[in-house]
């Protein structure tokens, strides 16, 4: 049995006070907090091993390079991939853009279509709009059902052989919905399309095997999985990475630079122009080590438990509407909701006065907000360091909000 109270104690920020109350952090879908082990790894690296990687023949540089490549191997193992299929980027957003410029810009034409879903995060929409501007390709969006699931009929209806790319989130950061990625990938491949999966809300919360997803590329961020900001991951099938052009040019990603052109380094270095975020890679490795010590199945189980507890508690609040699946099954712990006619922004302010941190807004998914016909929602999201009392604090503070707004 995992000692979740001890886990929680590993996160220094969670002992902080906020507006006179203990901090109740329910915004992990935006970014996660960091355990001491991750902070220690970063400091240890800078204090003992810092040197630029893949550059120096001296021992310190070699140690730094080993730590960096070791981080890559750790990420690879964590997602069931090989190290040279793992590209370190600035974050999930950069990973999408790497595919947009390195593949789509050169492989998609004005006769082609890109198929996205209406629940995509802007990170999996805007890069394709930039590609569409430059290539003339069109973009279409798969809708959702009443209950907040992907409309698979709509998907199959929109999928034809003009579709060259399907972009889909493994889990929605607004609805929490887990999408049937393997089924989608299979159909897409049959139609001759490639598939890019947004795993930003999946990899932190559940054990992901990239080959089982069926996707061709997978993108996620370190900062949402206990790791530092400034690092993310693009995984791609080796033959596809091989065939892609680099998006960014610079040092390290070349095997030769001549006045009249350059030759690229081998994958994955081809996609890592310039000095990579190597200290952040070391931090990400520490985060994965931490998650693996608990076990991803156990992390998932605990989050399901918390999510179910939250959904049940929220169901008891009159006037509260949850967007997305009503039970913990088939969803992750990002729960968007509204409360009577209290604007989410007001809710967030009121809750904050009780130390409860939730997000209010469109959560970087405006097309979805428009579909739900709400300008904004409130969102509470849990992670492994949350506890039932955090949910209780949320529920208690919602009562304040109702009273202040004289809502029955």
């Amino acid at each position: 049995m995992t000692d979740w109270a001890a886990i929680r104690a590993d996160f220094p920020i969670l002992s902080r006070e906020m507006n006179g109350y203990p901090l109740v952090y329910l915004d992990s879908a935006a970014t996660s907090q960091k355990p001491q082990a991750v902070l220690d790894a970063i400091i240890d690296f800078y204090s003992t091993t810092n040197a630029n990687v893949h550059r120096g023949a001296y021992s310190l540089a070699d140690e730094a390079t080993s730590r960096y490549e070791d981080a890559r191997s750790t990420v690879a193992r964590f997602i069931g991939a090989q190290p040279d299929e793992v590209v370190f980027t600035r974050g999930a957003t950069s990973a999408f853009n790497t595919v947009a410029y390195g593949w789509a810009l050169r492989n998609v034409t004005e006769d082609d279509r890109i198929l996205l879903t209406i629940m995509e995060h802007h990170a999996n929409i805007v890069p394709w709009q930039l590609v569409s501007d430059l290539t003339g390709c069109s973009i279409e969006f798969v809708g959702i059902t009443e209950s907040g699931l992907l409309d698979m009929d709509d998907f199959h209806r929109l999928l034809d052989d003009d579709v060259k790319l399907v972009g889909v989130s493994m889990a929605s950061n607004v609805l929490g919905t887990i999408n049937p990625i393997a089924e989608i990938a299979e159909a897409a491949h049959r139609a001759g399309s490639l598939v890019i999966a947004d795993a930003a809300q999946a990899v932190p919360h559940t054990s992901v095997d990239v080959y089982e997803t069926g996707a061709d590329w997978i993108c996620f961020s370190g900062h949402k999985m206990l790791g530092p900001t400034g690092i993310g991951v693009l995984w791609g099938r080796p033959e596809i990475l091989e065939a892609m052009e680099p998006a960014e040019g610079g040092g390290e990603m070349i095997s030769d630079v001549r006045l009249d052109g350059s030759a690229w380094a081998a994958v994955p270095h081809k996609f890592e122009a310039g000095t990579p975020p190597f200290a952040q890679a070391v931090g990400l490795k520490a985060a994965i080590d931490y998650l693996e010590a608990i076990g991803m199945d156990e992390v998932e189980r605990r989050e399901q438990e918390l999510t179910e507890y939250a959904l049940k508690s929220m169901a008891g609040v009159e006037g509260l509407t949850v967007y997305g699946p009503a039970t913990a099954e088939g969803r992750v712990g990002a729960i968007s909701f509204s409360l009577a006619d209290i604007h989410p922004h007001d809710l967030a302010t009121i809750l904050d006065q009780r130390g409860v941190a939730i997000r209010a807004g469109h959560h970087c998914a405006r097309p979805l907000a428009r579909t739900l016909n709400v300008p904004a929602t409130a969102r509470a999201s849990v992670y492994l360091y949350n506890q039932e009392s955090d949910v209780d604090a949320l529920i208690g503070a919602l009562a304040d909000a109702k009273e202040l707004f004289s809502v029955a």
Partner: protein
């Protein structure tokens, strides 16, 4: 395990005084019953404003008679502060000359701390202040992130009139 835990949160303190000062009744009234929302037929000045970070939006239409605000329409969506501020503003500037509007805007922005000022613009002991209902928005000053909500309609009105 999955039913709400019996470890309850410490007995709720009543929410903070600052919150009560921000969410005054007059503000909730304007939020729920916004004034001057009907679109105008004759539009002499208009602008749209939005606050990309929280999604508040406001559209303003002004009809002028000479330099007097003859009619105004303020529509939008967003939090109670942004929408109440817009509604109260519409009331405050209706029938005023552009110069008077500029003065009210200035006083308001000073009150909210958006424009620096030495004097204590609105002083509870000074009942003669000119902002009327709008003074209720003073409570927002204690919530710096929300000041731009209160300010949105005013900046949008300035934009409309300066075009």
């Amino acid at each position: 395990m999955l039913t709400p835990s019996s470890v309850r949160w410490p007995t709720p303190r009543s929410y903070s005084v600052s919150l009560e000062e921000m969410y005054r009744e007059v503000i909730l009234d304007h939020y729920r019953n916004p004034r001057n929302r009907d679109p105008l037929d004759k539009i002499d000045a208009t602008a749209e404003g939005n606050n990309p970070l929280c999604g508040d939006e406001v559209t303003i239409e002004v009809s002028l008679n000479g330099d007097t605000v003859d009619a105004i329409s303020v529509r939008g969506q967003g939090c109670s502060i942004s929408q109440a501020s817009a509604s109260m503003m519409s009331k405050a500037v209706l029938g005023k000359t552009e110069k008077e509007v500029a003065e009210i805007t200035d006083t308001f922005k000073k009150m909210m701390g958006v424009i620096d000022t030495d004097e204590n613009v609105v002083d509870d002991d000074r009942p003669g202040a000119t902002l009327g209902d709008l003074e209720a928005l003073q409570g927002v000053r204690k919530f710096p992130v929300r000041i731009k909500c209160a300010d949105l309609a005013w900046t949008t009105l300035e934009e409309a009139l300066n075009r």
